[in-house]
Amino acid sequence: MISLAGRDILHASGKFIFTGVGLGLLIGVTLSMAGIYRGMVDDADTLLDNSGADLWVVQQDTLGPYAESSSLYDDLYRGILTVPGVAQAANVTYLTMQVGEGAREHRAMVVGVVPGGPDAPGQPQYLVAGRHLTRGHYEAVADLMTGLRLGEQVRIRRNRYKVVGLTRRTVSSGGDPMVFIPLKDAQEAQFLKDNDAIIHQRRRTAANPALNRPGQPGTLEAVLASQTVNPSVNAVLVRLDPHADPDQVAGEIRRWKRLTVHTRAEMNEILQAKLIATSARQIFMFLVILSVVSAAIVAFIIYTLTLGKIREIAVLKLIGTRNRTIAGMIMQQAVGLGIIGFMVGKIAATLWAPIFPKYVLLLPGDAVRGFLIVVVICVLASLVAIRAALRVDPAEAIGG
């Protein structure tokens, strides 16, 4: 038996490879799209993993701290610590802001954590360089995406922080890299505005006769002092005893502390169903469109290749080649094109994935699924060409 498809591919190998590479780049885009979606889901997962918490205690009736803003008094965690089943509870603040100055400014999520090494909830899980926070002030652990280096000073609002550690894949649900700083600094950063704003605020307060009463020395100072205190945090991260039931502990806290508590499962739900759902649907639409476009392109390429051979096909049919043989030839070419395209696409997607600003996660399972889809699409796309080939009248080969 002779493989007509193989012979044709060998004969037109240049055209075939270039077409395959072109198709491959398109498949690469499609795979990257899937990778972006997986990356978003993984970002959400990593966000939860990185917080190292089993429960998130947030302001009542909010979806905080990632999906909605939430504000709690920073001494509430002590009460939560007394709930049975709670092993650790730590305050945490999240604030997305510009970090750094000038050209090196970066949008980042500043996370205020209680310094205490890898043991405390909220700390990054692993580092790629340096160490965890140890001092109570003016140290930072930054994500690689911020472009910061070890030992560098970074300005966050009023203060400069020394970068003592670097992490990777610590991003907010929006993909902004995280910068971890000690909680108290973060509270200050969250509340204290720039110097001008503080001075304006002082002036405004001093101009208010109700706060600056003549004959009551000290009132103004007390008011000013109270204005620069921020006893709030965004959430309390709770780590449970190994055998505690999260739902039960969450119920206790909800009932007695009058706070909203999210378990890991609920947090997943919030992040994936509410926060990234729209983007995910957007990407899914892109995936569908790209798949359709890829299918159309494969169909078009195969159809064109087939039309270019229509006289040979007529001759083949005239001299008695079976339809099955001709259909097989076209389908094998389509699938071959798909396989080359898939490999090129996978390589391209893998190579350009690190260049993307947001995380692109290429799962082997997705690759396998993608491969099967590519093959199915190629088979379907070749049907048009096969149909055209089978409609060729062998009589056309005979002149007149």
């Binding site: 044709d8 001299i319 008695g320 079976r322 005979i398 002149g399």
Partner: protein, 238 residues
């Protein structure tokens, strides 16, 4: 050698296109018989039904009436036809066209050996048979070349080899010499004659090529849907 009753024989072949008032009768009772080893010419002006006759002979168009036998097989008989025309074309009819129509992505050997290979004969056997034929046609030295590397005459010889690979009882040659100069055209006819004798094949050459008409012993002239047998000049080719 030629054997009576074999070769191709058609009697009263009719072909009508369309139905009712718009029906066109292209063939109005054609009679034709070619013995194995014989090469006959089929000539006629455009619109005479020459093409339709060729398609009926080539089993790609079914006649509406009449009878055709190929070797010992009955092909058509008044509206009945053998079920598998494709297998018939593959096994019993060799085609040589005006242009060689070789498969561009197969080399010369594989072009010739294609049919038996597709039919499932071992590749090596099929290629050996092909090379044998190519040797007989004096193109063995181009066995590994691609069709695009051959001259027109070489291509036509390869096409003849392809037509012969299944040892068909009949070869239909449709204007096989049209693109060739007279020397090469006569060479093709010479080959066809030689092959017809060597493989006991009936050869029908459809042509209006004045260069080769004088070479036929017998000529069927087709006019207005009917054939008229004439004696050819039978000019010797050597």
């Amino acid at each position: 050698m030629a054997e009576a009753g074999l070769g191709i024989r058609i009697q009263g072949l009719h072909k009508r296109y369309g139905t009712g008032d718009t029906a066109v009768e292209a063939l109005k009772g054609v009679d034709l018989a070619v013995a194995p080893g014989e090469v006959v010419g089929l000539i006629g002006p455009s619109g005479s039904g020459k093409s339709t006759l060729l398609k009926c002979l080539g089993a790609v168009v079914e006649p509406t009436g009449g009878r055709m036998t190929l070797g010992n097989d009955l092909i058509y008989h008044d509206g009945w036809r053998i079920p598998d025309l494709r297998a018939l074309r593959r096994d019993k009819i060799g085609f040589v066209f005006q242009a060689p129509y070789l498969i561009p992505f197969l080399n010369v050997t594989d072009n010739v050996a294609l049919l038996p290979m597709l039919a499932g004969r071992p590749n090596r056997e099929a290629r050996a048979a092909a090379r044998e034929l190519l040797a007989a046609l004096d193109v063995a030295h181009r066995a590994a070349a691609m069709p695009s590397q051959l001259s027109g005459g070489e291509q036509q010889r390869v096409a003849i080899a392809r037509a012969l690979i299944n040892r068909p009882p009949v070869i239909l040659a449709d204007e096989p010499t049209a693109p060739l100069d007279s020397t090469r055209a006569l060479a093709v006819i010479r080959i066809l004659n030689r092959m017809a004798r060597q493989y006991a094949t009936a050869v029908i050459v459809v042509t209006h090529d004045e260069k080769i008409i004088p070479t036929f012993q017998r000529i069927y002239q087709i006019r207005d849907g009917r054939t008229h047998e004439e004696a050819g000049l039978g000019r010797t080719l050597e």
